[in-house]
Structures are given as structure tokens and as C-alpha cells.
Amino acid sequence: MRLVIEDLSKTYRDREGRPVEALAGISLAVEPQEVVAIVGPSGCGKSTLLNIVAGLLPASAGRAYFEGAAEGGRPLSAMVFQEFALFPWRTVLDNVCFGLEEQGMPPGRRRRVAREFLELVGLAGFEAKFPHQLSGGMRQRVGIARALAVDPHLLLMDEPLSALDAQARALMQVELLRLWEKTRKSILYVTHSIQEAVLLADRVAVFSRRPGRLRALLPVPLPRPRGEAAQADRAFLDLVDRIWGLIRAEAVEAMAEV
């Protein structure tokens, strides 16, 4: 299965009714088992693109499609949100069960599957807790288990670690590397952290802002499996520098705006 984004544009209207071009002519593909990270300054439309791919927002022009996926089979995508978006009235286990319920999986089986994925993300023993009883890092583990449990062709991650403190974030980055080794999911990953993009991705898509355009698509020359230590690698540092060079001027611009 392969995601293809073809000449995709998005224009929406702001509060005064003026058209705002969020994305312009994006073409990009995510290959099987590939991790593609999108980085760019604020307002580059990277989250908009993710929502369009998820089917949560219509595109204005162009299209996104999946190649080699069977109709009515596994879900095309599932999303992990920056705000975690866990259902506060459901326990950890029932949150992970949500998508399986919608798929019509019988209760006994979906609980078994949910437990499996909770164990995978390191949350065995927390099944009966409510989201508010967990730390941010643990909540996002639930969010990831919930998305993985429906077995989507593509995992969409919208700044999944941005709400965490710096230490939890560093730990979760390594955790994501481990999870990818185990699941080999295709992932489209949006972040504003260049370091995170380079550490996690096979290719980094650098976006420019207003409207969001694909400015560069850079392969990450780091071998897998990767760990924290990869960040000391010369190739890692060079690539981070190079991307920062591409984004810096626009990030300064973005900061000057509200």
C-alpha cells in the first residue's frame, strides 16, 4: 500500500470571508513501511494536509489516494493527535477499543486486541485507568495504541509529542523508533521539530509557508534501527542544519505575525 498525494491545494475562507491559500500544489508519496516527516514554520499548512489525507477535511483541488489497498478491507488511516483526543469518559482499555467497536469486532476479541496494543506501548496494567489519571506521555501512548489497534494502512501523526515536556518528548521519540521497528507502519508525521523529523523519518518534507508548498524532500541517511545516539551522528547534525537553513528566514517571519 502506498499513499499518493497529487497536486493538492487547499483554500479556505477566513472570518472576513477572504480566501486564504493554505496549501498549493503538494505532490508527495508515502511508500510501504516508510516514515515521512513534514516540517515547516507555523502556518505552512502541514496539519491541514494531514487532515485532508485522513478524510477529515476536503481538498480544494488535486487528490489523495491509496494504491494497492482493498476496498472495504483494513482502514486506510488512523490519526494520533497533538491534544491526545482521548475520550475522557472511557477507560484506557475502552479508548483503545473504540475503533474496534466501530469495525464491529466482538467484545471479547476487541478487548484481547486492545490489551495486546496496550502492552506494545508499555501500558499493561493501566487498562482500568481514566485518561485524566495518566501523565501526558502515557496519554499519548494510549492515543498511539488506539490508532494502531485498528491496523490502518497508514498512521497519521499530527505533532504527537508537542504537548509533552522536553524530557517526556525525548523519551517518547525513542519509544516511537522502537514501535516502528515492531510494527513497520507507514507513517506521515507532522512536527515543527527538525531534530524530531530527522531522528524519526526516512524522508523529510520541508514546507514553506503561506501558501504551504513542498520546498525540499530530503532523504535521511541514517541506518535503522536508530536510537538516541543517532543524534550525535555527523549526518544527523548536517541534515538538521541544512533544514534549519531552509526554514529559518520564514520562521522569523512567522514569529512576527500573530
Partner: protein
């Protein structure tokens, strides 16, 4: 102090200035004893006033007399007929009004057509004091139970519909997106996201509705009823049976407290994630 270098040069000597808690005057202590004392004091003053002869007991019967009258009415069973009649009316009216209000609120909040049709109608009817509808309801439904239940139901319907509507509209949109991303359709989103998400507001509506229901119950019973707490209070007033009247007020107050406690307990049971 050994480390205080040159401090005296800036106009302060070597003295020690302790840091004090400057927020102390803003601290709030739990004055539980005072709370109990306030209620006890009021009752005692009331009793003393009755015994002193300053106020005629026919206008203000002392608490002990009210208590004795209450005990007599319980022992003789007199109170239960009134209480039962009132409870049937208020429970039936509340249940009807709450169910209809929740259904209307969900429809209004979720379906744009319903919202366009329903909100102006709701806003037009909401300001009418519901008790003013009683004469009309009596014409339509007869003077017996139906009109009383209907007026209570109407009184509960509006706060329930408005609160549910507000709750539905304020469900966190990211939860809806999460549900859709995980494969939920319209039914799944309404049942598993919108309704539980609106539950705290629905409960706030229950509390508003409970107060309105009690008010309308008594008003309707005072206007026309043979049995019921309102009827009992009304006829006791007519006959200058002030002690009996006071028993009615105490029972109403207990009814209000019981419903508030019951709803709070139900809320803790159904919304364990709230306030945490």
C-alpha cells in the same frame, strides 16, 4: 552576616529581615463549626422568639411546635397522601420534560435544519413564565392531573433543551475528529461522543429543572388541587393553621435538598471523569 558584602554601604545595616507570608490575609479557612452554629443559632432564636411572647405563635410557630405537628402528621399518616400526590406529579412531569428536552437539545445541536427551525421557536416560547400556561393547559387537558404534570414538564423542558443544546455544541471538536478518524459514522459520533460529551451540561440542566419543577408543582397545587403539598399549605393558610403550613414548608425544603443530593450522587456515578 558573613556573605553580606558592602550591604551597609547601600543604606541598610547588617540586620535580619525575615521573609513573611504576604498572602496570609487572603487565606480561607474551613469554618465548619461556625456553619453549624449559624443554623443552630437561627433555630434557637426562632424558638426563643416564639416563647418570649413578642410574636404571636399563630404568625410564627416555634420550631418545636412545628416538629411536634410534623410527628403527629407522620404518625396519623396525613402527610403521606399529600406527599404521594405531589411526588407522582413532579416525577412524571420531570421525566417527561427532561426526556423531551434532551431529545430536542440533541436534535437542535446536531442537525442544522432542526437548529434553524427550532431555536427561534424555543427562544420565543422560553421567556413565558410557565405558570401562565396553566389556565390554557387546564382547558386542553382538564383540571385534574394531566394539566399539572404538563406545566411541570414544560418548565423542565426549556432548561433541559437549552442546556443539552449548549452541551452538544460545545463538545470538543477534536474528539469528534478522533472518532471519525477511527471509523465512526453519524450514529457512532452521536452515541459515543456527543451524548457523553454533553452529559455535564445535561446534568446542569437537571439541577435547574429540579428547582423549576418544585416551584411549578407548588404553584399548580395552590391554584387547584385537593391533595398535594401545595394544596396542604394553601388550605392550612386559609384556616390559620400556621404550624401545619410550616410542616409543609419543611417537607418542601427537604424535598429540594433530597433532589439536589440525589442528582449530585447520580452525577458522581455517571460522570466520574468530571472535576478531576
Amino acid at each position: 552576616m558573613g556573605t553580606d558584602q558592602g550591604g551597609s554601604g547601600r543604606g541598610h545595616g547588617g540586620g535580619v529581615i525575615p521573609v513573611t507570608n504576604r498572602m496570609a490575609f487572603l487565606e480561607r479557612r474551613d469554618r465548619r463549626l461556625l456553619r453549624v452554629a449559624a443554623v443552630a443559632g437561627l433555630v434557637l432564636a426562632w424558638e426563643a422568639l416564639g416563647r418570649s411572647g413578642l410574636v404571636r405563635t399563630v404568625f410564627l410557630p416555634p420550631p418545636l411546635a412545628v416538629l411536634a405537628e410534623g410527628a403527629r402528621m407522620v404518625a396519623g399518616g396525613e402527610i403521606f397522601g399529600h406527599l404521594a400526590a405531589s411526588l407522582v406529579r413532579i416525577l412524571a412531569g420531570f421525566a417527561l420534560g427532561a426526556l423531551a428536552g434532551i431529545a430536542a437539545g440533541i436534535a437542535l445541536g446536531f442537525f442544522q435544519t432542526a437548529e434553524a427551525v427550532g431555536t427561534p421557536i424555543l427562544n420565543a416560547l422560553f421567556p413565558i413564565p410557565k405558570i401562565a400556561l396553566l389556565p390554557l393547559l387546564i382547558l386542553w387537558l382538564g383540571i385534574e392531573e394531566k394539566s399539572k404534570i404538563a406545566v411541570i414538564a414544560l418548565g423542565v423542558f426549556f432548561p433541559m433543551a437549552i442546556n443539552t443544546y449548549t452541551g452538544v455544541r460545545h463538545v470538543d471538536p477534536v474528539l469528534v475528529r478522533a472518532a471519525v478518524s477511527l471509523g465512526a459514522g453519524r450514529r457512532g459520533v452521536i452515541r459515543k461522543v456527543i451524548i457523553p460529551g454533553a452529559l455535564p451540561m445535561i446534568f446542569a440542566g437537571f439541577k435547574l429543572g429540579a428547582g423549576t419543577a418544585l416551584l411549578l408543582l407548588v404553584a399548580a397545587e395552590i391554584i387547584n388541587a385537593k391533595r398535594g403539598l401545595g394544596a396542604m399549605i394553601n388550605s392550612a393558610g386559609d384556616l390559620m393553621q400556621t404550624t401545619k403550613l410550616m410542616v409543609g414548608l419543611v417537607v418542601l425544603s427537604l424535598l429540594g435538598l433530597a433532589s439536589a443530593w440525589g442528582l449530585a450522587a447520580l452525577e458522581r456515578l455517571l460522570i466520574p471523569w468530571k472535576d478531576l
